[in-house]
């Protein structure tokens, strides 16, 4: 529900006396309290849900067939968004990188920097963000609508655990599909840079390829996919958590989708920082 100018209460009686203390409290204090208490609350509820889902995995009381279906749809639906965004991203790095290396007359280094940034950082993050926006949001929307229409209750009444049936396959599908898409994104991102460097700026094909693997190795490809898997698991848990717990009719479904995207992007960026320090911190410094 939108707040805004149409405040409830005395909104009609024109803003004659402005309650300065109240305003200050509202502006300064309440976000502060919310900033401290909100995240702790949210994290607590999220980890409880996550634990419940992950503990259901080894019981094997979940449908493998559903997992395959979900993984298939997820790949089909997210493939184009991921590739369509990482490619121009690679191209942008090409354009800007050319501008930077122009300053040093070191064009040949472009592909080194490009593959480093794409594979270590951008591909996993971008793939996960796009999957969150496309797949995660649709998981939240589906589960939310099922919750609102009491379909999840119906599943439970039939003696089927809705977590095992609806949630676990989706979470696992995410954890499985995001690394795949990340690996694809690595290729598409570098290709985007290649098109700019070789196609637009006439860099030599051989130079580009030769320097590509200068800064990175097979470890980085693995680390990239590993990041993807972690992000996928996170997005899977967040989206099903918001959808599964949706309340309050159609608005509730909208809120679930909104929360999924916001939380996913936040978690991805924060966790990415940790993972980068963990995986590449030693080699970088």
């Amino acid at each position: 529900m939108g707040g805004g100018v149409y405040q409830r209460g005395k909104a009609q009686q024109a803003p004659q006396g402005v309650d300065l203390g109240g305003t200050l409290r509202a502006v300064l204090l309440s976000p502060l309290v919310a900033a401290v208490r909100g995240p702790i609350d949210v994290l607590g509820r999220f980890s409880r849900f996550g634990a419940r889902v992950l503990l259901t995995v080894p019981t094997r009381r979940w449908s493998v067939r559903e997992f395959v279906t979900q993984a298939g749809t997820l790949t089909a639906r997210c493939f184009i968004p991921v590739c369509a965004t990482i490619f121009p991203f690679g191209a942008v790095i090409g354009v800007q990188g050319m501008a930077i290396f122009d300053l040093f007359g070191a064009h040949r280094l472009l592909s080194s920097l490009l593959s480093l940034v794409i594979i270590r950082e951008l591909a996993p993050v971008l793939a996960a963000v796009l999957v969150a926006a496309q797949g995660g949001a649709s998981f939240a929307a589906e589960l939310g609508a099922m919750r609102i229409k009491e379909e999840l209750d119906a599943t439970a009444v039939m003696g089927i655990d809705p977590i095992g049936w609806h949630v676990v396959p989706r979470v696992l599908a995410m954890a499985f599909v995001v690394p795949l898409l990340t690996t694809l994104a690595n290729a598409f991102g570098v290709a985007g840079g290649y098109v700019v460097a070789v196609g637009l700026y006439d860099q030599d094909h051989g130079v580009f390829v030769h320097h590509m693997a200068q800064l990175i190795g097979i470890f980085d490809l693995g680390a990239s996919a590993f990041k993807g898997a972690v992000f996928g698991l996170l997005v899977g848990l967040i989206s099903t958590w918001r959808g599964y717990g949706a309340t309050g009719g159609a608005e509730g479904v909208g809120r679930a989708v909104n929360d999924t995207v916001v939380y996913s992007v936040m978690f991805i960026l924060v966790v990415n920082y940790q993972l980068s320090s963990l995986l590449f911190g030693g080699t970088g410094g």
């Binding site: 949001a137 479904v253 679930a256």
Partner: protein, 249 residues
């Protein structure tokens, strides 16, 4: 081919919707009270999230820039990397993506709910144009607030990257600053702001389009929100390439 035709029709419908919003605003006037409330929603409520993200992204920029350049024998070039990559590309995109994720999806969901609950019909029956009443204010609001948020994002990420570069990576502060200031131009700030104005238009109109024409019901609301956020992400990133080519190509 029919998928392509459907896609083209969608883009056409979206373009018409945008034109309609502008036309409705011209003929019916702008409800400035709604512009204010929308700006508040977009600006103030996206800021905490954006602030946190800018901290992390800024430090990550420093770490990656350092990693890349130290192998090439120039760890102190990190200031330049942050100035160029961060200000030109990462910060405008980060601000736009976060606002799209938070405010954009919220607008799409709210419009879809209003469609479901016949509130948009109610506005029309009152002889008020729902586009000028509901969509136009958010267009203005996002186009005004996103540039401001982008500038704030730039400031926060520059500070956080400097802290990481100096205290974690051991880069000399004077050297960092001289490279930062040396490579950062007013044109970069102008370009970042210009980009974010365009992104703002995209966020408000795309989320408005999907919310406004959503199907009724819980499923419809979810679907509209989902489509809005994916489309926003793809269009913003693709457009970023075009804008970079125009501004720096």
């Amino acid at each position: 081919m029919s998928a392509l035709a459907a896609g083209v029709r969608k883009v056409g419908a979206y373009a018409w919707f945008t034109v309609d919003c502008v036309r409705a605003t011209v003929t019916h006037g702008v409800p400035w009270d709604r512009v204010m409330s929308e700006s508040y929603k977009v600006g103030i409520r996206s800021f905490p999230v954006l602030f946190t993200m800018a901290l992390f992204v800024g430090s990550n920029l420093a770490i990656q820039g350092h990693a890349a350049f130290s192998t090439l024998g120039g760890g102190n070039l990190v200031g330049m990397f942050v100035a160029l990559a961060g200000v030109r590309e990462v910060c405008p995109l980060l601000a736009a993506t976060m606002v799209a994720a938070k405010a954009g999806t919220e607008m799409a969901a709210q419009l879809a709910v209003m469609r479901t609950k016949e509130q948009i019909d109610a506005i029309e029956v009152m002889a008020i144009d729902p586009r000028s009443e509901l969509v136009a204010p958010s267009i203005i609001a996002v186009m005004l607030t996103l540039p401001a948020l982008t500038v704030l994002t730039i400031a926060v990420s520059l500070i956080s990257s400097m802290l990481v570069a100096v205290y974690q990576l051991g880069v000399d502060r004077g050297e960092y600053l001289s490279f930062l200031v040396g490579y950062l131009t007013a044109y970069d700030l102008f370009a970042a702001t210009a980009k974010s104005v365009v992104f703002g238009l995209i966020i408000a109109t795309v989320s408005g389009y999907f919310g406004f024409f959503s199907e009724r019901g819980a499923r419809g609301v979810g679907q509209a929100t989902n489509r809005a956020v994916v489309t926003m992400c793809i269009v913003i990133i693709t457009l970023n390439f075009a804008l970079t080519s125009i501004l720096y190509g």
